[in-house]
C-alpha cells in the first residue's frame, strides 16, 4: 500500500515541498492482513513539515483524497468530498458492486488522457517528459524510507 498508493502522495508532496530530509511513519493492518492504513510525517530540507495518510481500509467503493497547503502568506484547502458540478440522485436498485468510485468532476480533460497524450507528444517530438525518472526514483525512496521507519520505529533519513 505504501509503495503502491502512498507513493502518489509522496510524489505530490515532494513536487510541492521539495526534497525530503527525514520521515517517520506508522502502520496498522487488520487481523486478516487485507486492510492496511499508514500515516507518515515528512520533514523537508526547506524546514517545512507534512503529514501523509493513506490506506486500503475504507469500505469498498469509497475513494477520498485531499490536501491542506499552508504557507506564510496563504492557504489552500481542498478535498474530494466537495460536490462536483452535477449531483445525481437516484433510487437504489440492486446492490452496487464494489468498484472503486471516482468523483464526477467538472474538469473536461481526464488526467489519464492528458498523461498519455503528453507521453505520446514527448516521444513524437523528442522532448523530455514532465515527470522524470528522477521523480519516480525519489518518490520510491521516500516510500521505502517510510517502510524502514515503520520497521525500526525511528525516523528514517533520506
Amino acid at each position: 500500500m505504501i509503495v503502491d498508493l502512498m507513493v502518489h502522495d509522496f510524489d505530490f508532496a515532494r513536487w510541492l515541498g521539495g526534497e525530503v530530509q527525514r520521515i517517520f511513519a506508522r502502520r496498522s493492518r487488520n487481523d486478516q492482513g487485507m486492510a492496511e492504513y499508514a500515516q507518515a510525517i515528512l520533514r523537508f530540507k526547506s524546514g517545512a513539515i507534512g503529514l501523509i495518510e493513506g490506506g486500503w481500509a475504507y469500505p469498498a467503493g469509497v475513494f477520498r483524497t485531499g490536501f491542506d497547503l499552508s504557507g506564510s502568506d496563504g492557504l489552500i484547502e481542498w478535498n474530494s468530498d466537495q460536490p462536483g458540478p452535477v449531483h445525481v440522485l437516484r433510487a437504489s436498485e440492486a446492490e452496487d458492486t464494489g468498484a472503486v468510485g471516482l468523483p464526477i468532476s467538472g474538469i473536461t480533460e481526464d488526467p489519464y488522457t492528458i498523461e498519455i497524450c503528453h507521453a505520446y507528444d514527448a516521444i513524437r517530438t523528442e522532448n523530455p517528459f514532465d515527470v522524470t525518472a528522477q521523480d519516480a526514483l525519489q518518490s520510491l525512496r521516500i516510500a521505502l524510507a517510510a517502510r524502514e521507519s515503520i520497521n525500526t520505529n525511528q525516523p528514517a533519513i533520506l
Binding site: R22, F24, A25, R26, R27, S28, R29, N30, D31, A35, E36, Y37, A38, Q39, I41, R43, G47, A48, I49, G50, L51, E53, G55, A57, Y58, P59, V62, D68, S70, G71, S72, D73, G74, L75, D81, N153, Q154, P155
Partner: protein, 332 residues
C-alpha cells in the same frame, strides 16, 4: 452559585462570562485583572485576593498559563471549586502542585476541555464505544487555528504560554482521544517548526505528531496555527476514524452560515449554529458545584494531556519517539 473569573488574559474569559449569564442560579460576582476595561460590564476587582474574599463558590482561572498554579492555590485556599483553562500549567511539577493544593483544601479541579461537550464528539464516541467501526486502523486529529497573538500577545511567549501551537492545541486532541477511545497514550513522535511566523513570536507555529496508544493504535495530530488571520473563522477541529468495518469523518464546526457583511472583521465569516460546547462545559462546572461532586473532566485529564504536549517537545529535541511516563526523563 457565586462564580468569579480570575485573570482575563485568556480569549475564552469573555465567552465564559456570556455562558454564565445563561445559567439562572449562577451569579458572576466579578473578575480580577490588571485592566478593568476588558471585563466589559463585569464588576472589577483590582486584586485576586479581593475577589476571592467575596464568598465565591467557584473560580474560573483565565490568566496566562505559567501563573495558573499561583491562582489555583489562592482559589483553593479560599475554598473555591476550580475550573482551569488548558493547558493546566507549563510543566508537570507545577501541575502536580495544583492538585496538592486542591486535595489539601478538599476542592475539585475541572480542566476546561469544552470539546468533550460538543454533540459531534459525543456521537462519535458513542459509535466508537458501540464498536461500529470494528477494529480501528488509524485516527487523525486536526486542530488548526489562526495565530492567537493578534488577540492576546502572551500566546506567543514561551515563558508565559509554555510553548506555541503544540501547547495550545495538542491538549484538546489528546483529551478527546483518551476519552473517545478510553486508552492512554504511550509514545509520541513530533516534528515542529516556526515557518509561519508572526512578529514577536518565539514559539513554534506548526506541529505534526504521531502517537501510539497503550493498545497499539496509531493517531496523528496536526496542531498548527496554520489558518491565516483572514480565514473566515478562527479555525476548526476535525477527526477521522478509520476502522476495518467503516470510517467516520468529523468536522465539529461544519454547520455554519456564510455571512458577508460590510465592515465585519472577517469577510466572509462562517457563523456557526451548532450547540455551543462552552455553554455545556460551564453548565457542568456549575452543576458539579451545586451537587457537590467531582466534575466530568478532572485534573487527571488536564495532566495527561499536558504530559503528551511536553513529550512532543522532547521528541522534537531528541528526533526520536518518546515514551510517556517513563522514569528516565523529567520534562518539568
Amino acid at each position: 452559585m457565586r462564580i468569579g473569573i480570575l485573570g482575563f488574559d485568556h480569549l475564552h474569559a469573555e465567552i465564559y462570562r456570556e455562558n454564565l449569564r445563561n445559567i439562572p442560579d449562577a451569579e458572576v460576582v466579578g473578575f480580577s485583572h490588571e485592566k478593568p476595561e476588558e471585563g466589559a460590564g463585569l464588576n472589577w476587582y483590582r486584586r485576586h485576593s479581593e475577589l476571592l474574599a467575596a464568598n465565591l463558590n467557584g473560580a474560573i482561572i483565565c490568566c496566562e498559563t505559567d501563573r495558573h498554579r499561583e491562582l489555583v492555590e489562592a482559589a483553593a485556599d479560599a475554598g473555591c471549586q476550580i475550573l482551569c483553562e488548558k493547558p493546566i500549567e507549563t510543566n508537570l511539577a507545577d501541575a502536580k502542585g495544583m492538585l496538592d493544593a486542591c486535595t489539601k483544601q478538599g476542592v475539585h479541579f475541572m480542566t476546561a476541555f469544552p470539546m468533550r461537550f460538543a454533540s459531534s464528539v459525543t456521537s462519535l464516541r458513542a459509535m466508537v464505544q458501540r464498536g461500529d467501526f470494528g477494529k480501528i486502523m488509524g485516527i487523525n486529529g486536526v486542530n488548526h487555528s489562526e495565530i492567537p497573538t493578534g488577540h492576546r500577545k502572551w500566546f506567543g511567549d514561551r515563558t508565559l504560554a509554555g510553548g506555541g501551537a503544540v501547547m495550545d492545541h495538542t491538549v484538546h486532541l489528546v483529551d478527546l482521544f483518551r476519552w473517545i477511545f478510553d486508552v492512554e497514550i504511550s509514545e509520541v513522535y513530533a516534528e515542529v517548526n516556526s515557518l509561519l511566523v508572526a512578529p514577536q513570536v518565539n514559539v513554534e507555529t506548526a506541529g505534526l505528531m504521531l502517537l501510539t496508544f497503550a493498545d497499539g493504535l496509531h493517531a496523528s495530530i496536526d496542531c498548527s496555527w496554520s489558518r491565516p488571520t483572514f480565514y473566515p473563522r478562527w479555525g476548526h477541529l476535525k477527526m477521522e476514524v478509520v476502522g476495518e468495518k467503516g470510517a467516520a469523518v468529523m468536522d465539529s464546526f461544519a454547520e455554519h452560515l456564510t455571512l458577508y457583511s460590510r465592515g465585519a472583521p472577517r469577510n466572509p465569516s462562517w457563523v456557526g449554529f451548532s450547540s455551543d460546547p462552552n455553554q455545556a462545559m460551564i453548565e457542568e462546572f456549575v452543576a458539579s458545584i451545586r451537587e457537590n461532586r467531582e466534575p466530568e473532566v478532572t485534573w487527571q485529564d488536564g495532566y495527561k494531556a499536558l504530559e503528551v504536549a511536553l513529550a512532543a517537545y522532547e521528541s522534537e529535541k531528541l528526533r526520536r519517539p518518546v515514551r510517556i511516563g517513563s522514569n528516565d526523563r523529567q520534562w518539568s
